[in-house]
């Protein structure tokens, strides 16, 4: 989580297109929530928010966003005893990721306005563009590693 937070803050956040950069943390929280459960997802969301906030300077706001992401992704948890197929797991993971991303970008757009853009511009811009960019990474991450982890 620490490594991912560093990668997100120092590398991924620099890939800015139209004031928006992809976000890896919701994907990580979504994976934890889907694989382990809502409570763990919540805890990881809160912790990852604290780390990101420690680096960016907005500890409270990032912690709250992480908590919300952990909470919403928890509804897509796939219990171990459910014997779900990999397709169902994948679908749940994608849905959890998309929900976490939309929640995260929406909250961030509401709570901070570093570029002084009007809300009707920064909200759809960050949600649509940020979610699309992050979902591409999500698909790639699923196919090159998370798929195997979710199956186990």
């Amino acid at each position: 989580m620490l490594v991912l937070a560093f990668v997100q803050h120092f590398f991924v956040s620099k890939l800015v297109i139209w004031h928006t950069a992809p976000d890896l943390m919701p994907l990580f929280i979504a994976f934890i929530s889907v694989a382990i459960g809502q409570r763990t997802g919540l805890s990881f969301g809160f912790a990852s928010g604290i780390i990101i906030g420690f680096l960016s300077g907005h500890i409270g706001m990032e912690a709250l966003i992480g908590t919300f992401e952990g909470f919403v992704t928890g509804f897509f948890h796939v219990p171990e005893e459910s014997h779900a197929t990999s397709t169902r797991k994948r679908r749940k993971f994608y849905m959890a990721s998309a929900t976490a991303l939309v929640t995260g970008y929406a909250l961030r757009a509401f709570m901070s306005d570093p570029l002084s853009l009007p809300i009707y511009i920064r909200l759809p811009e960050s949600i649509i563009l940020g979610t699309l960019m992050s979902m591409i990474i999500c698909v790639l991450a699923y196919h090159f590693g998370l798929k195997k982890l979710l199956r186990d």
Binding site: F6, R39, L42, S43, F54, S56, G57, L64, G70, F71
Partner: protein
């Protein structure tokens, strides 16, 4: 009571959510306080340190591009510097020429051509200014159009001038734009055409280019106009250059005698023996 605990156990996620939300909001509120400010500052310091290291690492990858960019910038600045240096030198040259002229203009002696010996090869002029007017041997004679000749003999009230249209007078000259040196001479009967000798074919000359006296002259101060290049032809080693003289000798009446003379120290040094003395 049991059902309450069962409800709590069933919905612990909501409790966690509320707890974390409260904590986050509390942190947001406390962010203005000193303790959290300190933590935030520490975080930003770590952030800055890591970012600095990463940018240093990134600069390694862009080192080649930066190097090339700096090299080009250096070349641009160098060419600008050279251009400005040349321009500055030209300005200084012109300024010194103007200053010399302004200084010496007041000391020019105006004289009238009172006699002339016509010849196809050895022309001679007499002017009505002599020792009493401050005229001495080896002064240069000119008009606003260009160089006339050299004073070779002086009496109390008159002076004899060896004009450039005399085969015995040779003047060191330089072209105005290409700065090619040569020796002006006159040999035939045409009063308006002279030649420049000893210009190697490696030199550069332009038709229409102005020619003036050079620093090498033993009597004329530098920069006195002489004429313009009219024709250039190549020989084996040297150019054959014809120049149209600035002064029209057929209608020459008034002349100016220039008091400035080349440094005697320079001439003395030039006339000394070239070979070093033998030392035991």
């Amino acid at each position: 009571m049991t059902s309450f605990f069962r409800f709590i156990a069933k919905h612990t996620a909501y409790l966690y959510f509320l707890l974390y939300c409260s904590l986050s909001i509390a942190i947001m509120q406390l962010e203005r306080k000193e303790t959290l400010d300190m933590i935030r500052e520490r975080g930003l310091a770590i952030n800055a340190a890591v970012a600095e290291q990463l940018s240093g690492l990134w600069s390694l990858f862009t080192l080649k591009q930066n190097n090339e960019r700096l090299f080009l910038q250096n070349a641009r600045l160098m060419s600008k510097l050279l251009q400005q240096g040349v321009a500055l030198r030209d300005i200084e040259d012109k300024q010194s020429l103007v200053e010399n002229r302004a200084d010496e203009m007041s000391r020019f002696t105006i004289a009238r051509v009172v006699d002339r010996r016509f010849s196809a090869t050895d022309n001679m002029l007499i002017i009505d200014a002599g020792k009493n007017n401050g005229i001495t041997k080896n002064m240069s004679v000119m008009t606003p159009d260009g160089l006339v000749g050299r004073i070779i003999e002086v009496s109390d009230n008159y002076a004899k001038v060896l004009p450039i249209i005399n085969r015995n007078l040779k003047v060191s000259v330089v072209t105005d734009s290409t700065r090619t040196n040569g020796l002006l001479s006159w040999s035939n009967g045409n009063e308006r055409i002279a030649h420049i000798e000893h210009v190697p074919v490696s030199g550069t000359l332009l038709v229409g280019e102005g020619v003036s006296t050079s620093d090498y002259s033993t009597f004329a101060c530098r920069g006195i106009p002489v004429g313009t290049i009219e024709r250039i032809s190549k020989d084996k080693l040297f150019y054959n250059v014809d120049i149209r003289l600035g002064v029209d000798f057929s209608s020459l009446n008034q002349v100016m005698v220039c008091p400035a003379k080349p440094s005697q120290e320079k001439l003395k040094l030039m006339q000394s023996h070239d070979s070093p003395e033998k030392q035991e």
